[in-house]
């Protein structure tokens, strides 16, 4: 048993040194793989860099973010990312997508996890089967759904028509009203299993004697769920939600394949990619990437604070 050792003792110093020795490789890799690209992107966002001449980039200050063009007659106009309506449309699209999809995924994930937590014959098989959508690469599932949602050959419209749910085929990915819904449907289908799995892991940690005690006391099952299960699996749900929210906020592949170049579904990542590689505006795209980073960081901090997450692992 390792008891508390003073940091100033020989043993304590030795332990600290050993810890640093173990940590250094990881910190180095992190700095190289995450820190350096991030720093470079932030740097480029303050320059006039172009993709074909990154070395010739020169400092322009905050012009990519905000620039006031004075017309000289007392009037003027704001330019730059912060004044760009298409950027804010992309931010709004992303937030809307993240909020709706993560909420639905958490809800469905919870239900599936509760079902899978019950014991029934063939449970192992069902648990594996549920994971299939998660195992399919996003590009493949996006393409697959694009065909299923096709207005002429799509199976969704065919089934809808046959069942009398709709009277004309819906052009899921083409219509501005349904494009975002289409993206959310595919995302929910794909990532609900991930949520279910994480929540299931949390459920299995709940000791069964608590349930037994509740049953003996005659507590209603609904009350058991809200008073016992939910509070106990909340940390697991919070971790899952944060993972998913991070993922959802930087969604790119699904939108890029399913509804490319569509104003109604363009997310922050798609906006950044467009400017970085399609258009000749690498610096502007870097500014978008930087803001994307800031937005995600803010959202995570917000979630952690509001969810009163305990990242230190202390138990009160």
């Amino acid at each position: 048993m390792a008891g508390p050792v003073s940091r100033n003792s020989e043993l304590g110093r030795q332990r600290v040194r050993a810890a640093w020795g173990f940590l250094t490789p990881m910190l180095l890799v992190l700095a190289l793989a995450a820190g350096w690209p991030l720093a470079r992107t932030i740097w480029f966002s303050f320059t006039d860099a172009r993709l074909s001449g990154l070395d010739e980039a020169s400092w322009v200050g905050v012009l990519n973010y905000v620039e006031y063009l004075d017309y000289g007659d007392g009037e003027g106009e704001y330019f730059g990312l912060l004044a760009d309506p298409s950027w804010w449309a992309a931010v709004w699209n992303t937030l809307r997508f993240a909020l709706i999809s993560v909420t639905l995924e958490t809800l469905f994930g919870l239900i599936i996890a509760l079902v899978l937590n019950a014991s029934f014959p063939g449970r192992g098989l069902v648990r594996a089967a549920v994971l299939v959508p998660w195992a399919i690469p996003t590009i493949v599932s996006a393409k697959m759904w694009a065909w299923m949602m096709h207005d002429q050959f799509g199976i969704l419209n065919d089934m809808g028509l046959a069942l009398g749910l709709i009277d004309a085929p819906i052009a899921w990915t083409a219509s501005p009203d349904t494009a975002m819904i289409a993206v959310i449907i595919v995302d929910v289908w794909k990532t609900t299993p991930f949520m279910a799995l994480l929540i299931l892991a949390g459920l299995q940690l709940v000791p069964s004697d608590i349930y037994e005690a509740a049953r003996i006391d005659g507590v209603h099952p609904v009350k058991v769920f809200f008073r016992i299960t939910l509070p106990l699996i909340r940390p697991a749900i919070m971790v899952a939600v944060i993972f998913r929210a991070l993922d959802a906020l930087r969604v790119f592949d699904l939108v890029y394949v399913l509804t490319p170049n569509n104003d109604r579904t363009r997310t922050m990542s798609v906006f950044a990619q467009e400017n970085l590689f399609q258009f000749d505006k690498f610096a502007y795209g870097s500014a978008a990437s930087t803001l994307l980073f800031v937005v995600i960081a803010l959202m995570v901090i917000l979630t952690i604070t509001l969810g009163r997450m305990d990242l230190e692992g202390r138990r009160s």
Binding site: L51, S52, L54, F79, H150, D151, Q152, F153, P169, I170, A171, T173, A174, S175, P176, T259, P260, N261, N262, D263, Q273, E274, F277, Q278, F279, D280, K281
Partner: protein
């Protein structure tokens, strides 16, 4: 025989040494060519590459990309800016030359003997500041495909104007649907928000006499009453003669509806001609193609100039072999094969009189005049900004067609945005 023996010895030696064969035998390189594709493009390309490999001793890897030119461009620009050495030859769109010129080898000194046989206008489109950026492989100009059987049945002539087209489409569609052909639509085209919509949009506007978005001298002309009229007309087609989903269609989606026999008219490139006449096609022998219609107030039919070319990467370690490959694929024999199997329009003038092509692909000789008068997209005047111009344009068109905003205000906005993009000059 002596050479054979030497080769065997060499092979044994290199196997022993564990050295790749390609490095030892002079000239045998491993090349990679990257290409997007619609229809049969890749299969046709693979056949040609195999023949090249057999003739030259080089091996060629074909890297395939998505069909959308917009997707391809983003990836290529990234690879080229990173000075990627893995790809030797790029298949490039006609509009890319000014934007990617700096990354490609000047082909002028290598093709002096054959370049004179190609149409000068096409060669010109691939020349940037005197440098031949890419070698033309085939050219493209869209057609209006129509169902001869349906037009005959209902006593209609191929339309000359968009108005006639819409009226014919509506009438045939309504009558056929009444007879139980419920899946039939009047007209399909490329309405997804991507480069293809820029092509379609340019054709509507130009054929209505509304100019070419940005004129060759750099003037932004897109906001005018004729453009508004053109877009309003097209908007009237969505959901009436064109399926609502057309706003997500690219070339292959439109061809899918057409080739299963579910459209009276289609706007598409010549490749659909050969495929439409293939054995598994529901419209085999039941269709023909004509020039795109004229708009009200316009004086000419407008077809967007398309076409694909082959460029050699400056960062390729096998430039010599790569140039050899480009010359092969753009050569007379390859272009003829492409015309016969895939109905792709040759860029070599002499092939338009080739008896085999005239007999097997009658569309091609008829199309010479069409692409010679084709409208170029404004990639030359807008230079490095072209992609953004195109994206702004297709967004405005897509918004209008899908009912987000009126044509008039969308075009006014587009004009303002383009002016800002233009700044003090393209």
């Amino acid at each position: 025989m002596g050479e054979m023996k030497g080769l065997t010895r060499l092979t044994a030696a290199s196997l022993l040494a564990g050295v790749a064969l390609g490095a030892t035998i002079a000239g045998a390189a491993e090349l990679s060519v990257v290409s997007g594709a619609v229809g049969n493009d890749l299969a046709e390309m693979r056949q040609q590459l195999d023949r090249f490999a057999a003739e030259s001793g080089h091996t060629v890897d074909l890297v395939s990309m998505p069909a959308s030119t917009t997707d391809q461009f983003g990836q290529y620009r990234l690879w080229l800016s990173a000075q990627n050495r893995d790809i030797d030859v790029y298949r490039t769109d006609v509009i890319w030359a000014p934007q990617l010129a700096e990354h490609f080898v000047d082909l002028t000194p290598h093709v002096g003997d054959v370049i004179g046989g190609h149409f000068p206008a096409i060669v010109e489109s691939q020349t940037v500041d005197g440098k031949l950026v890419a070698m033309p492989m085939y050219t493209d100009a869209p057609a209006l495909y129509y169902r001869t059987d349906l037009l005959e049945k209902h006593g209609k002539e191929p339309p000359k104007t968009w108005e006639e087209m819409a009226a014919t489409a509506k009438e045939i569609m309504d009558k056929e649907r009444a007879e139980g052909n419920a899946q039939l639509w009047g007209f399909v085209f490329q309405g997804a928000a991507y480069e293809g919509l820029t092509c379609n949009g340019l054709e509507w506007i130009t054929s209505f006499g509304g100019g070419q978005i940005v004129e060759p001298d750099g003037t932004i002309s897109v906001n005018n009453p004729q453009s508004v009229k053109a877009l309003d007309t097209v908007r009237g087609w969505i959901g009436t003669i064109a399926p609502p989903g057309v706003l997500a269609y690219q070339e292959e989606d439109a061809r899918g509806v057409w080739q299963t026999g579910n459209a009276v008219f289609m706007r598409n490139w010549p490749y659909a001609y050969a495929l439409g006449n293939s054995d598994d096609s529901a419209v085999k022998g039941k269709f023909d193609a004509t020039t795109l219609p004229i708009g009200e107030g316009g004086d000419r039919s407008a077809a967007t100039l398309g076409g694909w070319n082959l460029a050699v990467s400056k960062y390729s370690p096998n430039q010599e072999a790569a140039i050899e490959l480009v010359k092969f694929l753009a050569g007379e024999e390859a272009q003829k094969f492409r015309a016969l199997t895939n109905s792709r329009l040759p860029t070599i003038q002499a092939l338009y009189d080739d008896p085999e092509i005239v007999e097997q692909q009658p569309l091609i000789p008829r199309w010479k005049e069409v692409f010679l008068n084709a409208v170029p997209r404004p990639s030359a005047p807008t230079k490095a900004d072209y992609n953004e111009v195109s994206s702004e344009f297709w967004t405005a068109v897509h918004n209008t067609l899908s009912g987000s905003g009126e044509a008039e205000s969308n075009l006014r906005r587009l004009e303002a945005r383009l002016k800002r993009l233009q700044g003090s000059g393209w």
